[in-house]
């Protein structure tokens, strides 16, 4: 392929000079061009995005929940609703929606002008086919259902060409926001018919998005070109017509230093997932740092209240108050990371501030441990009935700072008498030894959701729930709150229950928040303007343009 980037490369060509001098010079140029920042959107241009991985599979339903493919799917497909970074759902392919009082039946009104890139209409029939595929998958053809889709889904029917009625077996307030989740992408019914081997070929994924797949190579690159007749942007974008950019190239570069070096030298526009340590330098050189938060849980630990020593609420609370979160933010992270205020991220609409419940208070922590009968031994580690106060942390392999955070916490807790050891695994081993093991005392959490209703499905073991805190249905307050959230039929009732739940879970120290979660890190050339981030912190370039 002729590379779309060569023009920029030539423009940015720098003569031989010392390393730092060259980079400083480059930064100077870059800073200059961003002076005309308020410029109007420009037509044309080819944007290059360096990504650490293109993920495992292009079969939309079979990808993992937090996936690299979301970057590409966001540009080649549309969704029924748009959910912004504040968790607000707004019209997209569904122009409006209604629900019955019991929140068990929803009616979606679709816009009438959207088409898939193969020319077929994005009508009610197509939407029904997609809803069924998300809910049930096609196991005989190796296609999974999508994980986060409400299990209460019963059926959908096309009332007429632009109207879809969806029925649930129980109240499902989370349905509408779930339609903005990155798994809920609309693809052509013909794509859905394909067996898994053919859906795995990105060329066969036909969507209705502002870009179409021009070419792709496995684990190497995906080139998207703009669709000229696209005119159904989400209402929230407040723009008409096709994208400004001619093409988007996603190029896989596994090595972080290579991604950073390439954007610094002007070979690419965006470096994804650079390490927090590199950010300050990039910012000084004029790069825009994007640290969008996604909706979901904060980065933290869920404790298993069935396993010692966390079967004692006082030990859990001592753990809670023994962590100095300000120290975490200043030591491991940069200014872009915010302190946690609850166990869900602050941008979730129902999030309320409960930071008091887990404030750093080492004296109180020590007092709690004294009350629980754990007394300091000779080496400073507390003991009770001849047992030492030992805890093992399992570092989160999904975030670059996982092990560093654990090491700092181990020191902090060591000062109040815990003996903390750390185990780190790669993603696969972690899946085997940690995720699949119900007998550990704690688990790291970094998980997104689009609707806080998700919280209800994880707390206990009811309805195939995940039983996060190992208490089953034995904690009556927890079970009551879970039921209230799951069965709520209006948003206010549910928000009240969620507020009570946040207070309760944090006071019981079932969940130990550490910091707000930033899992997607963007270092972007100052030439790029007009980027938006959605609820899942994916960068969208539909409205973006390049300044010369």
């Amino acid at each position: 392929m002729t590379h779309p980037f060569s023009r920029t490369l030539r423009r940015r060509f720098i003569a031989v000079s010392g390393g730092t001098a060259a980079i400083a010079l480059l930064a100077g140029c870059a800073g200059g061009s961003s002076g005309s920042d308020a410029s109007a959107p420009q037509e044309g241009g080819d944007l290059t995005f360096l990504i650490d991985s293109l993920g495992d599979t292009w079969v939309p339903n079979n990808g993992s929940i937090s996936s690299f493919q979301g970057h590409i799917f966001d540009h080649i497909t549309d969704k029924l609703v748009y959910v912004d970074e504040n968790g607000q759902a707004s019209p997209w392919i569904a122009e409006s929606w209604e629900q019955n009082d019991a929140a068990t039946e929803f009616t979606l009104d679709l816009r009438d002008d959207a088409t898939f890139s193969d020319g077929s209409p994005l009508d009610a029939e197509a939407v029904v086919a997609n809803l069924d595929a998300w809910a049930f998958g096609d196991p005989e053809n190796g296609i999974n259902p999508i994980g986060l889709f409400p299990k209460t889904y019963e059926q959908a029917e096309a009332v007429d060409e632009q109207t879809v009625r969806v029925e649930f077996s129980a109240p499902t307030l989370g349905f509408i926001p779930t339609l903005g989740y990155h798994g809920s992408i609309l693809v052509s019914p013909e794509t859905l018919e394909l067996p898994v081997e053919e859906q795995a070929d990105l060329d066969n994924i036909v969507g209705s998005g502002p870009f179409v797949v021009d070419s792709w190579k496995e684990a190497d690159n995906v080139v998207l070109t703009k669709r000229d007749d696209y005119d159904w942007n989400p209402e929230a974008f407040d723009r008409e017509g096709p994208a400004n950019l001619d093409s988007l190239t996603y190029k896989q570069v596994a090595e972080s230093a290579t991604r950073t070096g390439a954007v610094q030298s002007g070979q690419a526009h965006v470096a994804y997932n650079v390490t927090p340590k590199e950010l300050a330098g990039l910012e000084q050189q004029g790069f825009t740092i994007g640290l969008p938060q996604y909706l979901g849980f904060v980065e933290g630990l869920r404790l298993n209240a069935r396993i010692a020593p966390f079967d004692d609420v006082k030990v859990r609370q001592a753990f809670q108050h023994g962590i100095d979160r300000e120290d975490l933010l200043s030591t491991v992270y940069t200014d872009g990371w915010a302190a946690a205020e609850s166990f869900i991220q602050s941008n979730v609409p129902e999030a309320t501030d409960h930071s008091e419940a887990f404030a750093y208070d080492p004296e109180r922590a020590e007092q709690l441990l004294d009350e629980a009968g754990w007394t300091p031994g000779a080496d400073g580690v507390r003991e009770k009935d001849g047992k030492r106060l030992e805890v093992t942390l399992y570092s989160n392999p999904y975030i670059v700072t996982g092990a560093a955070v654990d090491e700092l916490i181990a020191q902090q807790l060591g000062r109040i008498g815990f003996d903390v050891s750390i185990e780190s695994y790669d993603v696969v081993t972690y899946g085997e030894r940690v995720i699949a093991n119900a007998d550990l005392s704690n688990y790291p959490v970094s998980r997104s959701f689009v609707d806080a209703g998700t919280v209800a499905s994880i707390l206990t073991d009811e309805n195939n729930g995940e039983d996060w805190f190992g208490v089953g249905t034995s904690d009556e307050t927890l079970t009551r709150l879970q039921d209230e959230i799951a069965q709520a039929t209006d948003a206010d009732t549910r928000a009240a229950a969620l507020d009570e739940l946040q207070a309760y879970v944090l006071e019981q120290a079932y969940f130990i928040p550490r910091t707000q979660m930033v899992q997607r890190i963007y270092a972007q050339s100052p030439d790029v303007d007009g980027v938006t981030y959605n609820a899942l912190a994916y960068a969208n370039y539909t409205g973006a343009w390049l300044n010369d």
């Binding site: 599979t57 998958g137 005989e140 795995a200 190579k217 030298s265 690419a268 499905s457």
Partner: protein
């Protein structure tokens, strides 16, 4: 038996051995990965975040045949392999043949270029150690191999990238398959390999130049250059050929790191992803491919000895060759067959 018949018999045995090696490699990979717990399909499905029911999981696992006993799965994979069907990747859901077909050209270009660079560099360094005045250049040149060997290839790669790609703009990481990008990636990969070759070649030159025939040639007034190129080069290259055969494996292994640094999508990165996800069908195919490469390379190496040194042709008996060939298989040290050759030369 005439010499030709013996040669044919030797060739046939080598081919048969090659087949056995490939089949065993294929089966062994299967066994090794099958004893590991889990598989990529159920690993994804059983992630509690998905909340799938057991029944949903079972149906999808059954689609991939992963619910069958291990021996049945091995037999199925084998039956497909024999007719040239490499199966479907459990990770990407794409046909394995497509994955390998897409990754192989990139790795071949990289490893091939690296091999040429390594050989050229090695000969230049070794030639320099023989021809430069002892006092200055030689000592420095003799230190080259250990210097090159001690610098990891990702460090060399990062330095090349930093200077030639990011500062000079000679190539860019967006288009890693371009000629210039391939050359620099191959340089990073080839430099450590050239060190080994140079070491062996220098030793070869040193050894040959002490032989009687060299002294005789010198006494007849032959210049050092003439002696090197006309008499010493070919016998000194003999062990290099053996090392080269092993080196090819190293190039394929080292490609993982070089591919990651330079943003290339080749066999190395395919293996890395497949190992991380226990993607059995892909790993089996790659191991079979590697076995083919090793067998062919070793065969070519064995057959090229007589061309390099006529004394091998004169003294080596073909009936002896298979024994040394066995030792030159994938897992054997290079020196075994080199020593064997040396003996037969002497």
């Amino acid at each position: 038996m005439t010499r030709n018949q013996t040669y044919l018999w030797y060739g046939a045995r080598r081919l048969l051995q090659a087949g056995v090696v490939i089949v065993l490699a294929y089966a062994l990979t299967f066994v090794v990965i099958s004893v590991l717990p889990g598989d990529p399909v159920s690993n994804t499905l059983r992630n509690p975040q998905n909340g799938f029911s057991e029944e949903e999981i079972d149906r999808i696992v059954a689609y991939y045949g992963l619910d069958q006993p291990v021996l049945v799965q091995l037999w199925d994979a084998f039956a497909r392999f024999v007719v040239g069907d490499l199966g479907v990747s459990l990770r990407s859901n794409l046909p394995v043949s497509r994955l390998i077909g897409e990754a192989l050209p990139s790795t071949l270009a990289l490893a091939g270029t690296a091999l040429v660079i390594a050989v050229v560099l090695a000969f230049l360094v070794a030639y320099g150690t023989q021809r430069l005045p002892r006092r200055w250049g030689q000592g420095a040149l003799r230190a080259f191999p250990s210097l090159f060997l001690s610098v990891p290839n990702f460090v060399i790669g990062m330095l090349l990238l930093q200077y030639f790609a990011f500062q000079l703009g000679v190539f860019n990481v967006i288009d890693p398959e371009s000629g210039a990008a391939t050359f620099f990636a191959a340089l990073a990969l080839g430099i450590p390999v050239s060190a080994q070759l140079a070491e062996v070649l220098i030793a070869g030159f040193d050894h040959e130049s002490r032989q009687e025939y060299a002294t005789v040639a010198r006494s007849r007034g032959l210049t050092e250059t003439g002696l090197l190129t006309r008499h010493l080069l070919r016998p000194a290259s003999l062990p290099v050929v053996t090392v080269l055969a092993i080196t090819i494996g190293e190039l394929l292994g080292g490609a993982v790191i070089t591919e990651a640094v330079f943003g290339r999508a080749g066999i190395g990165s395919l293996v890395q992803r497949s190992v991380a996800t226990q993607d059995l069908p892909v790993l089996q195919a790659v191991v079979a491919l590697a076995a083919v490469v090793f067998v062919v390379v070793n065969l070519v190496a064995d057959l090229s000895y007589p061309l390099l040194d006529p004394r091998v042709k004169r003294t080596a008996r073909w009936s002896r060759a298979p024994r040394s060939a066995e030792r030159a298989g994938p897992a054997s040290p290079a020196d075994a067959s080199t020593v064997q050759r040396k003996e037969s030369i002497a």
